[in-house]
């Protein structure tokens, strides 16, 4: 597990990011999570993650945590963390939750807290006007 190169567009490098068909990861996915299969709290798949950690502290983190911190210098969703770092969604959720707990990343959960997640009217209007402007 090597950290990604420092400066590249993660989306432009999908071949490198994904590896090749048939490549098996060297570490079984849930080894990275210490065997846990449930995060400490439930992260939405579309929750946004952005790195808040001081770069000087990154070196002390586990390699997988470092990769997430590198990736999320630009805001990414949990789904993107999973896809771009080639880890199952469940693993990405746990690792991101760990980082959030340690204060290394900020998480923006969608919707208005725990209201069942239904987007409110203001949000729908913003989305609508945004789509029309595309």
């Amino acid at each position: 597990m090597t950290p990604p190169p420092a400066s590249h567009d993660p989306y432009g490098n999908s071949v490198d990011e994904y590896g090749h068909e048939g490549d098996q990861p060297l570490v079984r996915p849930y080894a990275m999570t210490g065997g846990r299969t449930r995060p400490r709290y439930q992260l939405a798949i579309e929750a946004l993650v952005s790195t808040t950690a001081d770069p000087a502290h990154l070196a002390t983190l586990l390699p997988e945590h470092q990769r997430i911190c590198h990736l999320c210098r630009e805001v990414k969703s949990v789904a993107e963390v999973s896809a771009l770092l080639s880890m199952p969604l469940g693993v990405a959720r746990i690792l991101v939750a760990d980082l959030a707990e340690a204060g290394m990343v900020a998480i923006h959960q969608p919707g208005n807290g725990e209201t069942g997640g239904t987007p409110d009217v203001t949000l729908l209007e913003r989305v609508l006007s945004g789509l029309r402007k595309l």
């Binding site: 939405a44 789904a79 993107e80 896809a83 989305v127 595309l134």
Partner: protein, 174 residues
């Protein structure tokens, strides 16, 4: 969310409007499944990888819309529950030559109460059936929009999303 039967064009649709090439995320599931798979050799447990393609559209400095294509196999409905939370709604893509393929998605969204629109996917406007014929065949209520689309074209996909958000907004304002 973008739903519909296997091979109906969900990822094509996502790719047409997404600002990034569609990405794929995978969830590994271990489930004790009864009567679905041949479990002769696995002792009652099965591990399945469910893949889901998605894209993103940045609508504003602080507003990002994610488009998730649902896994094509309806037996993975439990993953949809995860997606439905926080979702604005669903575009159900329909190939009218294989109408039955969309039944699980339509049933699911009707039951979950998530706003959805039916988008008949046809190449360059070729549609063997009229939307109202499909409405009758699917037994869809008059409130649910049925539109025609070409999932390869950005303008069509964008217009389908606008119809969906308008519909979701109407549903909220009722």
């Amino acid at each position: 969310m973008v739903a519909g039967g296997f091979g109906v064009g969900k990822t094509t649709f996502v790719g047409a409007v997404s600002e990034i090439n569609p990405l794929r995320t995978e969830a590994v599931m271990t489930s004790a499944s009864a009567g679905i798979d041949d479990l002769t050799h696995t002792g009652g447990k099965t591990t399945t990888t469910v893949a889901m393609d998605f894209g993103r559209i940045t609508l504003d400095q602080d507003l990002i819309l994610y488009l998730f294509g649902t896994p094509g196999q309806d037996r993975f409905w439990f993953m949809w529950d995860d997606l439905v939370r926080g979702a604005i709604g669903a575009v159900v893509l329909v190939d009218t030559r294989r109408l039955a393929d969309c039944f699980p998605a339509v049933d699911y969204f009707e039951n979950s109460g998530l706003p959805f629109v039916i988008a008949l996917n046809g190449f360059d406007g070729s549609q063997p059936y009229q939307p109202e014929e499909v409405r009758e065949a699917l037994q869809i209520g008059p409130d649910t929009p049925i539109i025609t689309t070409d999932a390869r074209h950005r303008a069509d996909a964008k217009s389908a999303l606008i119809t969906l958000v308008e519909h979701a907004l109407m549903a909220r304002l009722k």
